[in-house]
Subunit: 271 residues, 4 copies
């Protein structure tokens, strides 16, 4: 390719991938609106009365949006330096997933498996994942959650073991009481509903012993909800400490300095 074409690609790259120029900002705003409309249409389509009346308009809106997302995808592939690395990146796959379902719907006739067609239609909700690009991966919250991953895994693992054991016990207690504890998996479902303090009430113990046991499960759940909270809290505290603790005084090696510090607060020398 010649120089001019390269120049054109670079300009396009600036518009699509960066947000410093007015054109880049406009592109982002238009994209955000399109994502919003796209998700809204999928949601409204699922409401039977609306689908009956406005079904055609929804279909047209979807084709228009799919066409625009397709153009966006093609432009992204064209103007990026390493197209393949984009295509197989998380963002690339999400962008593709936002356009593909509508096209695939064409190949599957209405006579064929309705479930697949419906699944494909709903897959378009994942268009919303295009927003992930704007959240970014560099913020403190995600770092804190990532740093406490190991502890949270151990915690989750313990909760699952506990749920299975408690589920079996309540099944033994309430299994014959006709109160919904008809199998161990259902009883485990009840334990999770109770321990997480969700408490639907679709299954609830009927016998006094079962209710006493339920009380114990609730108090246990109440106690262990403190654990993930504590983990994330103390991790976020650490993140903050790290943020303020990078400078070390070269004269007295005092490591704790305010972010705005110009002089060491221990020896008064210039940092």
């Amino acid at each position: 390719m010649n120089k001019e074409s390269k120049h054109w690609k670079e300009q396009l790259h600036e518009i699509i991938y960066e947000a410093d120029t007015p054109a880049g900002k406009l592109f982002d705003v238009v994209l955000l609106i399109l994502i919003f409309i796209s998700v809204l249409v999928v949601m409204l389509e699922s409401v039977a009365p609306l689908q009956q009346v406005y079904g055609n308009y929804f279909n047209i809106a979807e084709w228009v949006i799919t066409a625009l997302f397709t153009i966006e995808y093609v432009l992204r592939v064209v103007c990026v330096r390493a197209p393949w690395s984009y295509i197989f990146s998380l963002y690339g796959l999400i962008d593709l997933a936002a356009t593909l379902p509508k096209y695939l719907g064409l190949f599957i006739g209405n006579t064929e498996a309705l479930f697949i067609l419906r699944a494909l239609r709903l897959l378009r909700v994942f268009t919303i994942l295009k927003l992930v690009r704007y959240v970014g991966a560099s913020n403190h919250l995600i770092k804190a959650i990532r740093a406490s991953r190991a502890k949270i895994s151990v915690f989750m693992f313990a909760v699952i073991i506990l749920s299975i054991v408690l589920g079996t016990l309540i099944y033994l207690i309430e299994g014959n009481a006709n109160s919904g504890f008809s199998s161990i998996p259902r009883s485990i479902y009840w334990v999770v509903v109770t321990m997480t303090t969700v408490g639907y009430g679709d299954i609830a113990p009927a016998t006094p012993l079962g209710q006493f046991f339920a009380t114990l499960v609730m108090i246990i759940g109440y106690g262990i909800i403190a654990v993930p909270t504590g983990i994330v809290s103390s991790e976020l505290n650490d993140q903050k400490k790290i943020k303020t603790n990078t400078q070390v005084c070269q004269y007295c090696n005092e490591p704790h300095h305010d972010n705005r510090a110009k002089f060491c607060h221990q020896c008064g020398k210039n940092l």
Copy 2:
């Protein structure tokens, strides 16, 4: 205006806007009682059996309170130096909103739209916002919440995206099971009900796969409830740290110093 009138205004200003004099304290107490009665009357009016029996008394009480609030509003406008800046301030608008609905009700006949009349009547509950004056905006809690606004927004944004994605998935799983997941918006409603651990039980999964999925949603909700808690905790901790650094540099007025600091970190001078 002459001096005397000015003097009279100043005295009134002291009573209404300040709480150091006995008269000012009395004014505040009377106002608090009026607000309390006003809100109570609106609440009791909405209870059908009470309204049938005591409806007239409620109406009289409302007119009396509205009259008193109107006098208060007029006095506030009269005795303040910059009446317009008060009228368009938050407090001014709240004070006006506490009196206006009752008068507007006169212009709308009973034959006209009943909903508007009812809305107007209920608007009087906002009288309670007059209490905001007494809470003030300068306390640490509000500062901590304001400081963590950005993080909480990112968190809320992530929760909304997650709700939409999970809502679509549960709609796909339970959509045909006649268990209440009749559309995506309803399914999203269920996801929020479940993730926030509210768990009404008006909609609950009926299929084993749906219940398994619900279990996952609950555990996710249980995990992410830790995040806003962690944010506010660590923010409140920070607020306190700032509070304990009471030293202010006498050379450059820098107020934020480490507890152990001997030298100002901005100008390097001895503290």
Copy 3:
């Protein structure tokens, strides 16, 4: 009174009010068991089938326990130096309240107001407050909660205002939908049930707008649950810091020392 009697009183005082001697420990254990039985009997009495069969035994057990608590009360009054200050102390009133209801029941015939008789019977559950003596008021938890009282009051106040405003709004939205929002107090009840993530489901919004509003209320509730948690967390952290920070080095004024420290970690001199 003569010396001997005084001696006898002192011995009794040691047994009843202190727990260092074997007799004192035995007294405490017996008292704990009696409290436990007393509360259990009141609880079981309220279960209709048990009351019908074992009613007489429950009555006898209650008279025995009441007699023993009466003896305990008289002994406490007798052996304490300042009987009146005990009688009107929190513990004295609780001890009296544990014995009085049974006697009062005698004066109220069965033919008289049944509700009062029943209330008296249930008052005996407050016997459990005798346990407060063993919890003590000097622990860190209670200090932390007391220290954060002001902040929690502001928070509670804000939650109540918010509940009233949101309750009125949902009443306006769902009031005609026959879904349980029949009055403002009931709607406020629903808001509290939802915001605290309890979620009974006895009242649940039926209209799409109501469900959307409910979603907002839940997310608000999810967000503000973080506030009391944050307050208590940071208060407990402070309690701990205070615990470890009382010694100050007299040579270099370094204030942060480990509880077990014998030498200053900054200048190495003896503390």
Copy 4:
């Protein structure tokens, strides 16, 4: 025994008890898979339709797994140096409990007490406790929970007293309203369901006074959920602080030093 047999035992010990060799890792993976299958079979057996169709296969799978676990148990006993201390250790008892129920089932005929047979079958779910070996007892989470045990006990004790008192009060208020508060134990069950924010809705207050009381209970519950969270949070923070003090005094082996410490606070020597 001769040298060779000892050598064979040592090799086996390395495979079974350690995970550094490829054989040891393979053993662990196989064991994990067996545990997973074992628990899954017990869970699926409890689902009536699956049990009817695949009952025989489930029985065979159980016998195979029980046989394998028996072999594992025997090998563990044989190759360990102190067999009795293993047999009576927590892990030894769990390993035995994973195999015994199936054998005991043989001795109890089908004609005998069905409940015992069923309990025995379900006991096999405790096989999952074999996983405890892989979680280990040395991690920070467990340390933090253990360290805050005393505080959490006081908290739990207070919650139980509060539940009994509040349960009696709601029984007094709602006892005649036919809304499920038929006895004090049931009312206490409701208080726990409400205070822990579980909220099944199987029992819910029907009278206005009951609903007002319920509102209070919820707000109390909302407030006190902060307490265990705060305890665990501040304990985890402490754990971390201890972790960062990695310096150990070379003179007196004191391991806990402040980050800024220059001298050991136990012996005063230079670090």
